[in-house]
Symmetry: C2
Subunit: 143 residues, 2 copies
């Protein structure tokens, strides 16, 4: 989570919403890291999780990351939660809860849907204060 938070900080410095993610393989090695990149290059799907999953898939040469965990500073939205299911991620660890946009513990609660084909183990609230502080500072500065 420290590396994911560092990625989130980097996002803020380039004007992107400060969310960072890493993918960790079965041996505990960080094989991919990313932060939100929605504005530049323009990509509506440029969330940290999507970019980290894609990078990890490239490293492992497979779209199925069955032995891997994903660590992200914010509760994933529906797009990212479903991508995590598509990637067969073993465990999802996230920082701040997101009552508005989150889709794991809020809203559609994707992994609890009967149609969900893969449910990772989920651990929420890890380093919640640090992850949340980054987001609050970012949006306060924009207002």
């Amino acid at each position: 989570m420290a590396i994911a938070l560092e990625q989130a900080r980097r996002a803020a410095t380039v004007g992107e919403v400060p969310v960072g993610a890493v993918v960790v393989d079965a041996a505990g090695r960080v094989i991919a890291r990313a932060h939100n990149r929605v504005e530049s290059p323009p990509d509506p799907a440029g969330h940290a999780e999507i970019l980290a999953l894609r990078a990890a898939a490239e490293v492992l040469g497979s779209p199925r990351l069955t032995e891997c965990d994903l660590v992200v500073t914010l509760e994933p939205c529906a797009m990212c939660a479903q991508a995590i299911a598509h990637a067969r991620i073993r465990r999802l660890v996230f920082g701040a809860y997101d009552p508005k946009g989150g889709a794991v513990e809020h809203g559609p609660r994707l992994f609890s849907q009967p149609t969900c084909h893969h449910r990772p183990e989920v651990v929420g609230g890890v380093e919640e204060t640090a992850a949340s502080a980054l987001l609050k500072a970012f949006f306060a500065a924009r207002r």
Copy 2:
């Protein structure tokens, strides 16, 4: 939809699930087209919709495609439906309904969630038979 179906056919020829998508701008021009590319290069988020949205964002220089429509041969999953909301797509037109993986008219019905921040106009079932036939032929050949 004819161009989206042509993309879906191309997907099948390279061993990808035959789903195709196009993004159409306010003037009715096709500005992006894509088909599923999950296996090569490996990308768990490599659905036609995500790839078409990203390509369209690049063309327009913005992640917000407010005047654009997305046409896709299959009902979007939760990942793609949320990406469509993130991109502020004006109208979503899809072909075959997907009771198992679809997240627009099935499962989490993302655009009906109270937390959904953008709801496109939705038209489903366009060229449903053709879109569905492609998928059935693909999976029958794999069994």
